[in-house]
Amino acid sequence: MNDVLLGLEGLTKAYPGVVANDDVSFDIREGEIHALLGENGAGKSTLVKMIYGLVKPDSGTMTLRGAAFEPAEPRAARAAGVAMVFQHFSLFDALSVAENVALGMENPPKPRDLARQIREVSETYGLPLDPGRTVGTLSAGERQRVEIIRCLLQDPKLLIMDEPTSVLTPQEVEILFETLRKLASEGTAILYISHKLEEIRSLCDHATILRLGKKVATCTPAEASARELAEMMVGASFETPQKADRPLGEVMLDVRGLSLPAPGAFGTPLREISFQVRAGEVLGLGGVAGNGQDELLAALSGERTTGADVIRLRDQPIGNMGPTERRALGVLSGPEERLGHAAAPDMSLVENAVLTGADRMGLLSGGFINWPKSKGFAEDVIRTFDVRTPGSGTAARALSGGNLQKFVIGREVLQSPEVLIVNQPTWGVDAAAAAAIRQALLNLAANGAALVVISQDLDELMEVSDRFGALNEGRLSDLRPVDGLTVEEIGLMMGGAHDMEVAHVDA
């Protein structure tokens, strides 16, 4: 099976001001698992959108089994045998599993036949799923099964997967890989997009690495080290964050029996969460997305209040205080969603700096904003955290995700918090910048702050935290010291494989 399935030749696509893909050429062979690696903004998404017919290339050609392949729309790509599992944005919460699957198919069978087919395929590949369930009630892992089954029902020749493991527990990842290897052995080619290097090394036959829209290398991932791959992606070497030995101080943040009802129809209730964080300590909280991370951040930051005694800062009850009061006491936070939660998208960086830094940085005088001082603070953040922006007057929306992330985290770090709670601090940030942010968090802890880092990136949690806990359906597991913790143990803490089983079709 070494015939070329999909050939890409000189693909170029430019958007105003940026060349997303510049003369990219590579081949995907029948039945191989091919990795597409690159930082955010390297052009991976644009490239797969061209293959899937969502974007038209400016120049360059594609061939599918030797014939010209120019999908004008996703429908044409699907008809030609290309299927795609999206990272976000392709499911409909209020519709049922069967309806979601039907929407992604060209000629869906009658509802009853479709339900039967969904059951068959889901059993064959060990992805159990009830066709009648409403998608909004499913866990992240189950939602991904919906997408995968939608693709498998169309019997694809090429399956594109865009960062499929970011929402899975390690056990679920292993089962997904079994499914993918089985598919590949049956002759389906898989284009696998990810920035998780260890996964790619264990799964993929070949890797194409993109940097700033250009193909920089093709390699066999199993023969390269993760660090080599990372440096090819970034194009430079970078420092790995160093954890300094530091004495733990008094208990700063003390949470006892925190329970809150779910904020909305599709939210997660918090159930009896208790933990303590000491000065100089970093508590890492993992867990699959949607298991209470956002809700816990909201409760700790003061967006949702609780009984006063449930949350204590240095033995002072703060559970009934709002975010502003907590900020004044030194409890700062950085939520996951950058646009609209951590930053107001249409306001300038200076204005965004004032929004959380007003009190602690003394940016107000007599109720009025001291603009020169605010500008100074914003520029301080920009300089210290290497935020790439034309200036401090630029709107937050105009920054790339990674740069804005550096800004919103830096803004909190420079306010020298006593307790800092962050959710997904390096989400969508390139490896070098992520290392810098992690180092800043570690330095903060070394200076005596207590940190709670919520993240879905286990490598990140292992790198920064002293103790680790996992959120599962709004409950917090026991907290364990990070030293000596294995991936299997972490997976079990995260809830294990949610009734998934290994594919059991004979290859």
Binding site: G53, L54, E73, P74, R75, R78, F86, F89, S90, L91, F92, D93, A94, L95, E99, A102, L103, G104, P108, A265
Partner: protein, 307 residues
Amino acid sequence: MDLSSINPVLLIASIMVSATPILLAAIGELVVEKSGVLNLGVEGMMITGAVVGFAVAVSNTSPGLGFVGAALAGALLSLPFALLTQYLMSNQVATGLGLMMVGLGLSSLIGKPYEGMKAPPFPKVEIPLLSDLPIFGRMLFSHDIMVYFSVALVVAVWAFLKYTRAGLILRAVGEAHDSAHALGYKVRHIRILAILFGGACAGLGGAYLSLVRVPQWTEGMTAGAGWIALAIVVFASWRPGRVAVGAYLFGGVSVLQLNLQAAGADVPVALLSASPYLITILVLVIISARGAHAAPASLGRPFHASH
């Protein structure tokens, strides 16, 4: 008070006539909102339908042509709304309110020469056997074609949304336009078609007022019926069946309170006149208080293909 002056057969028959305009407008708006667009201009499209339908019917002495003209006028008036909100990303609430104002102004301009005229008679449909039934024949089966059309339309919309693929796609677009776009559905086209359908339905509803219910043209004759239609869609939790319940309830109470006024009921007239609005909203609030509200998740959010 003399309740015996109220004839229940005539009462039910006039309730059906009274509910039809609102039912037509509301079922159209339901489709629009299911596709994720909030068009607040229903009142304006209704009254434009009323005046154009009246004018066409009078000029051709054909109420049938009048209804066709009204549907076209309603759809035509909704077209700028569709283009502004879907292509130029204008704010749906502001554009919808503007559409209402345009409709009101335009209708008085067009309607000036037609004031005081009488609409050509619209024949009732005689259904063999059914129309001859005692009591029920008179009550339910001796109406004009539009009454039956409106009921059939509700059933058709219900079946379309529940059982057809096109209906599923429409709901999907209203639920998550980014997902629908990623799967290759043409979000804008689908929404524009839905908006045009809603405009045509509102136009029909307006024409039913000026051609059958009243039947003549007076300025501002819709008197808030379009707003009631909008409210009914929301409180009916975007379900066709409940929209019909809401529309008939409103029509029913409107007719009943007129009868009560005529019978000299010992209730302040102002309260009686307000009662259709109060009771409809109250009942629908109680219905929607339990269970999920299920507003289309993308309702009123602008869609930009590049996101």
